[in-house]
Subunit: 342 residues, 2 copies
DNA sequence: GCATGAATAGTGATCGTTCACTATCGGAGT
DNA sequence: ACTCCGATAGTGAACGATCACTATTCATGC
């Protein structure tokens, strides 16, 4: 094992405080404090003395005491859903953006019923004193009965009523591109194999799919599935009546799409000659399937990063940075989508 | 830089403290404190008064002030690698185990060179005062030049010199089972398509593979690959000389195995008639490939959970719980592995 | 009537910083 | 010679809890 220093009863040297540093350097504690926070207003001679003392004592400031006094914690909470299906990539983007900006990340998973979740969020804001909350899961109107929340919250994957993304991670927008792509190929009648509707991204893809089909004057044969699984895709393909007239299937992700294709092939339906299939996520296997898989690639890292940067801007009461020109994703047309059969 | 929120301006009501509660309840602050920590030693009448005051004021204790005084933080850091390939499942298990035990999770990613990483860990221990560190990435002898570390650290995926897992996540152990399974089927000459050797799990699988082949008196044709990708598997299969004599391929994970199978099939090699292939992770697609994929299923959630529980036990200076009888994983034999051709 | 002690409640110090003031020192301007 | 001012450094209080003591209450036994 690594450091099983069992003897926690070790002769634990007492904590080095700013006072010890001050004493050794022959200055006041306040001078050391000034040094710690900004390197200005001190004579070079003083700076040297303080630096030497800090180094000799191996001093590191106690962030808890600092927070105690400054009322700031430099801590942002990332709220995850029940942790059953959590996508690491946007998390990563968000976490590293926060670290770069000098914030620490607290990870919290919200479990239990509405009341417990609400209580947890309140505790986060008040007791743990996080300065911002980035949620990967919808929080509903959890805080609505509150006097205006003092802690900025950012929820990934929210849309406004016009289907424009608000916040970030509103990746569903690309569902419109997918449908458009298929429509351009002459398809008129669609099926959507959705992901687990507990996830915002699944709901968003579904909603935008329906909205776009409608807007373009096309037809949706229906929405099936609902758990992101290969199995769900397979079943959806098996269960599709031969006379459904569906020629294009929009799958919630690449795994589902893979299942759909297998299911179709097992029935003797050709892809894309008879039916086109589009996935989502651009997973590597898509390039190795036959046919190769048309899919949507999202820059999830960037999406997570952006959400965090927006949140931090709000925490610091600044204008959020603009991401207008950032490319959040793209459609990758490959072999599984082709012209509609006439 | 951040922090220039000169004054957040909002009409932020002043914080409710234990003093306000005490005043409203008509007791001393110490009585309130006693109530907060344990519900004993107080007269029911007093308890009622305090509870009412807490509720009326919507009081929540300031955990920072508490930590300041108690010298405890109830905070455990989870250290992640550079976040380029991080597996969420064990993280989830670890995080929820910690939450259940009343600890908060701090997520830290270690970046930069050895010196920066070392400094970061020291900061964690001293400045942020985490009580334990669970690392998903090897930390080397980062702390060796330290006076015995006061903070327990647990590193996932370490083996002792006998290839027994120490700590947790030492999932590589199942590589022995995989090789045994193939040996039982008559295979004698193996190839390993490894994962990215930056990851402990990849190194462990590789090491245990080699050790087992050796121990059973078999032959390893070699170890290739090294990035967990479908592509790597595909290339490995394409590059394998026809006369290599290899009849069994152990892939680092299911994606790699998928690539291997595609590569073999594209060359006209039959799986499993000519060559057997085994994957790792029991991803859902394995059941839908043809042939279906023999693989290893790991209970990653449990593995993460166990690592965290061990760490917490050490933090609290208790005997770590025993996981002797827990099943960490199993081999799932399916269509892609069969008897060696004679 | 008083000592005893358990149960309950209160007082003041303390954790390690930073904040709000105040103090000192020199040099420049009047 | 005096004030004034900027640059630099110091003093004591404050952040909000808990800890270590001390004080009060009240039932009990003699």
């Amino acid at each position: 094992m690594h450091g099983d220093n069992a003897d926690s009863g070790a002769p634990r040297r007492k904590r080095v405080t700013i006072m010890h540093v001050a004493e050794l350097a022959g200055v006041s504690h306040q001078t050391v404090s000034r040094y710690l926070r900004f390197n200005g207003g001190l004579k070079p001679v003083t700076v040297d003395k303080v630096e030497k003392a800090i180094h000799d004592l191996d001093y590191r400031p106690d962030l808890i005491a600092r927070s105690m006094r400054t009322r700031r914690t430099n801590r942002i909470a990332i709220v995850l859903p029940e942790l059953t299906y959590f996508v690491p990539t946007p998390f990563r983007g968000a976490a590293s953006a926060a670290h770069e900006a000098g914030y620490q990340i607290d990870v919290v998973s919200l479990e239990g019923d509405e009341a417990r979740r609400r209580k947890r969020v309140l505790t986060l804001m008040d007791s743990e004193r996080v300065e911002g909350i980035l949620s990967f899961t919808p929080l509903g109107d959890m805080l609505s009965p509150l006097p205006v929340s003092p802690v900025p919250m950012q929820v990934m994957g929210q849309y406004d009523e016009k289907m424009r993304s608000t916040g970030a991670f509103a990746d569903g927008a690309f569902a419109a591109e997918v449908v458009q792509h298929l429509a351009d190929l002459g398809h008129r009648r669609f099926l959507h194999v959705a992901g687990n509707q507990d996830w915002a991204s699944a709901r968003n893809r579904r909603t935008v799919y329906l909205e776009t089909v409608d807007r373009l004057g096309l037809e949706s044969y229906g929405v099936v599935g609902g758990d992101w699984s290969v199995e769900a895709g397979y079943q959806a393909a098996r269960d599709l009546p031969a006379n459904s007239g569906v020629t294009a299937i929009v799958a919630a992700n690449d795994l589902v799409a893979f299942g759909v294709i297998r299911g179709l092939q097992d029935r003797g339906v050709r892809v894309p000659d008879d039916v086109s299939v589009v996935g989502w996520d651009n997973e590597e296997i898509g390039r190795f399937l036959s046919p190769t898989l048309t899919t949507v690639e999202l820059n999830l890292e960037l999406i997570g990063r952006q959400a965090m940067l927006e949140l931090i801007a709000r925490v610091e009461d600044r204008e959020p940075p603009s991401f207008e020109h950032q490319v959040m994703g793209r459609l990758i047309a490959r072999g599984s989508s082709g012209p509609a059969p006439r």
